[in-house]
Symmetry: C4
Subunit: 362 residues, 4 copies
């Protein structure tokens, strides 16, 4: 019997044994030389925490409010594609675990599970919050139809990915000729009038699909358009510049996710921990500020909060948990993060999130 | 016959061969990814010593006064837990070696040897100085009883650990299911009305014990309370911030130990060598300033002094010496440090500690 | 069947298998300890790209004008010696691939193929642009004759190498006793009255040749002399200082190539990415500014442009492509670079080269 | 037949095969963890050379004047102990090679060859310059006698080592129980009334000897005393601080050697390349400024000169040459350095030493 996973890296090691090579490459890989992929992790580790002592931390509260929704901790489930590659219960399992953990699941557009089923798995419209990550397609009508569908399904926010006008080149996928297994499809797109992912394509099938369907001409004006077709708050995900973050708010976004797509789009993009401070300084408290990329430890979350984020998104580790043990694996991953965050806050002298102030990081 | 130990790293290598895996993991390990554990050592090595030449160093004096007590060198024995894991003579052996070396032994609360026996081993109340490291327990009456007991036993100072409102997560101990061997107990606590360490517990028994017994609600006010129940000087150990160091003195502490608990509490805490200068600058000569973490060479001690410390605490190397050869091993470790410190001072042009000035470090 | 090359590093790996040890050492090696060779590559990787989002990149244009000539992308073929070591079609194959790719081939003086044949392979004087890299020989008359010949052949610019008054010591060549294979000769020099490379020589035959033929006394005045014997624009290649770049323009050069000769001349020279910004600042838009050294990714090209270059030269990767598959291999290398550059620009929010501004790099 | 040595590192590799373990450890080792030993080398490599182009370097001159003596290049032979461990011809072989190379040999006090024989090997008092490195012994009369003897022998300068009031602890020697082979003695000391090195001693015999004979009480006043007993210029070797360098000149020294004793005394001392600039700035042209430590390449010499030194001393590489092939090996080492220096100067656009200006380094 293997030893139980003690931390998120253990989950990664276990998942590597269980996933087939194509799925593992798709989940684990990044663009190009994977410099940004690695830097995302090490940038958190380079920061130190100047903890405070002799603060009463007998009672800790990790709960937060994000986009007006209460979460039990400032750790949300990042949108990641095709959970069905990891486990037959796919996005349903993840949604159940996220809801049980009291946090948000952000459902990827590239999901094999209909959005209605995911919301149902999270407990229905009044259950755990589900947000929907989307792209703007060349077919704006179909995009609007998709938005209406996810609204109707009970999603509570939209997360517009802005760092992927074209798909990054993930060389592991090129080498593996990555494609979806037979029978897996992009469930939410076809009914909206959007094309199905092709069964096979030269190099990465996904890249071909992106080139054909997604609109590389999307601009800031389309943010206004998106807002005009939804009543949901819109976050822009994939921002690494202070000026773009300001522009996002000025164009009506409810906030931004500082992200480089987990190192999967532009290799050479800065680590998110390195750009977060200047973006937080520019926003100066306006809008919702989230961050993802390389978060593997509870102490990383404290660092992100101290650098100005309201919360973090957890991506690959959720997939490792899912691959290892389905819903229970995701639940364990979230439990580990909660326990580590609770411990790190206690040791930093922070009884609640408000106590996580910039002087803690350096 | 193995070659004799030439330096402290040799002692570590020899001790690794002798200790069982659980004890070794407990002694050697740090929290989380052990980043702080490693940084503690490398931060000393990053500093260079701009030695002075043509100073008369024909006679060197290493003796110092710490908390009004004369020590033969500014290297004290740090409080470390459960010496019985290393040698049957346990804390007695360490105390005998420290006293013979003319320096302070700081006895850990987590000792299997009664404090009276440790003081006796050090030569009694008029012998080698013994200080006592303690926590504030939920049961303040029992905490006060413990303080009275160690006072009565002849301890000459209290070292209050402030970086452990909860226990850090040392993953080696979790993996090893660390627990004390049968028959070993926390000898000083039960008579004071405090609970015995449980024989077994989920993950680390120690963590469970801490959560149950120690008070995570302790604040600066409790420093005043502690002072009200003792006539001994109180040092606060585990400080990494200049503002906390100032607060310590303002609340009546006699000084502080710059420490991150040897990297065993908050992984991501800064290396002590990196924060020592700003703390020294803030204190500006007020109070006693000690430091621990990663000191492995005599030159590290010179660096610590030049950065403003009055002395250093030596932790793990003492345990390596104890594991290798009991009292004689500890004595040899202290002898090596003394010889290295003497040599480093001579080569820096410092005939005594007063000559170790800030311009030596960079 | 080996997997197809996914990036330029794959081409390098494949080429290493095909080249004999002497040729490989000659192509891959650098001077001395090869510190500059390695730094050239890592200096690009150290820079990050602060990409912009929500810019319309539906249509991208990579074309540029360099020295008044239109190229399909700002990636030119650097002058490298003796393509015949890699493939029997030698410089002809490279020229065909460069012309087909719509970019400049810079022909090295140290070519086994007559310049007329290279221009013909590129499509003749009205075909793909060919520039000629040259040295100033002790025999100025012969140098002038060489210039007249390359002009007559249809070359459109001269690239004067200024970082090689004497030949760098490439220890791989010394160890391999590098010399040209029998039958290979420096085709363009003998008719101009210049000496043939000797068949054998102590240590590197090339070094002996340089010492005998090239003029280490060349100064800025010789730039004026060179301009007096040609109507072609002259670039100075091998500059790493802002003052030298200014001097180049002041002496009538049309521009400079920031280069350290691919780490083959002075080991210890700075990485080109590290000196490019100050040179760009000094030139402030005057003259043509190119750079080479360590460019291996499309994102490196974007970084170079953002740091102020008008284009980059690609050296060793062209040779790897040539060794792997002749003209088709070079074409594939250029295709890969174009695709990577196109992708990196799209992901940076740059629809054309004018959009690549300094704020992208950091 | 092994390949001939192409650079100084090759000589080191060859010497490692030939020397017995004790001699190799004594030559190669440094103090403590050998951090300074390694840093000495890497500090040169961290500096880059901003070479100048289009300077007439058709004729290069490497000759320099050091302490009023003409040398063919600014590379001197550092004082190193006991050449007899490397070759039976010992210091005689080194002196012959140095004289033939037109440079200074600095003879170590710890020589097994009488100083008169070394001067004779260098060509006599009018031959190659020999300087003498010395310590101040407790017995000042004997020290003065030694000075008179080396003066009479024809030495032209004294190099007083000031970084060794006590001997550094070189753990390789401790582990090897380093001692001189039978029959080797400190030839210049006994006639002067100084003690012979003991045949055996605890740990390093050398350390015991130092402790017994050398005077750790030497101060700046003793520099005046030394000057009073000699008409030779005195250099102080082992200085790493600007204030000490100024003090040296103010006490009548003719100059200083920036040195940390090759990393053999205080481990943790700064790399000499790192402190050279501030010392050069403080001296501002006054006195002779030499440097040693980690010089392995001609480009390192250019860097040293650009940082303000008048010349460098070469230590261990001389011993490697001596071990490999006696006088011829030392000659080849000096030839390699000369060729590398000549090449580096040519590539930096420096026809002579005066052209090596501070703007070259960064």
């Amino acid at each position: 019997m293997p030893a139980p996973a003690v931390n998120l890296r253990d989950f990664e090691a276990l998942a590597r044994e269980r996933l087939d090579a194509r799925a593992l490459g798709y989940y684990a890989g990044g663009a190009g030389d994977e410099v940004t992929l690695r830097e995302n992790e090490t940038a958190w580790a380079r920061r130190t925490l100047r903890y405070r002592v002799l603060v009463d931390v007998g009672v800790r509260r990790l709960d937060a409010e994000v986009l007006g929704q209460r979460v039990s901790m400032p750790v949300l489930v990042a949108p990641t594609a095709f959970h069905g590659l990891a486990h037959p219960e796919a996005e349903r399992a993840t949604a159940r675990a996220a809801a049980a953990a009291g946090t948000v699941m952000i459902l990827s557009t590239l999901s094999g599970t209909p959005v209605e089923d995911v919301v149902a798995a999270a407990g229905g419209p009044a259950g755990g919050p589900v947000w929907f990550q989307l792209y703007v397609y060349k077919d704006r009508g179909a995009t609007a139809a998709l938005v209406r569908r996810v609204e109707a399904a009970g999603c509570r926010a939209l997360v517009l990915t802005v760092d992927a006008p074209v798909l990054g080149r993930r060389e592991r996928d090129v080498r593996n000729a990555f494609r979806l297994p037979d029978g897996m499809s992009v469930a939410n797109l076809v009914p909206a009038g959007l094309a199905e992912l092709p069964a096979a394509a030269r190099e990465s099938g996904l890249a071909a699909y992106f080139a054909a369907q997604l609109d590389a001409s999307v601009t800031w004006n389309d943010v206004a358009w998106l807002r005009s077709v939804t009543r949901l708050p819109v976050l822009l995900k994939g921002i690494v510049r202070a000026d773009d973050a300001m522009r996002a708010l000025n164009h009506g976004a409810a906030g931004v996710v500082v992200s480089n797509h987990g190192g999967r789009q532009l290799d050479g993009a800065p680590a998110t921990a390195d750009v977060l401070p200047e973006i937080a300084a520019a926003l100066d408290g306006r809008g919702t500020l989230l961050v993802d990329g390389g978060v593997r430890r509870g102490a990383d979350v404290v660092k992100a909060l101290a650098l100005g984020a309201h919360g973090v998104l957890l991506g690959r580790p959720i997939l490792w948990g899912l691959a290892v043990d389905g819903e229970a694996g995701v639940a364990r991953v979230l439990d580990l993060m909660r326990a580590e965050l609770d411990l790190a806050m206690a040791l930093c002298g922070c009884p609640d999130l408000a106590a996580v102030t910039p002087d803690l990081v350096r």
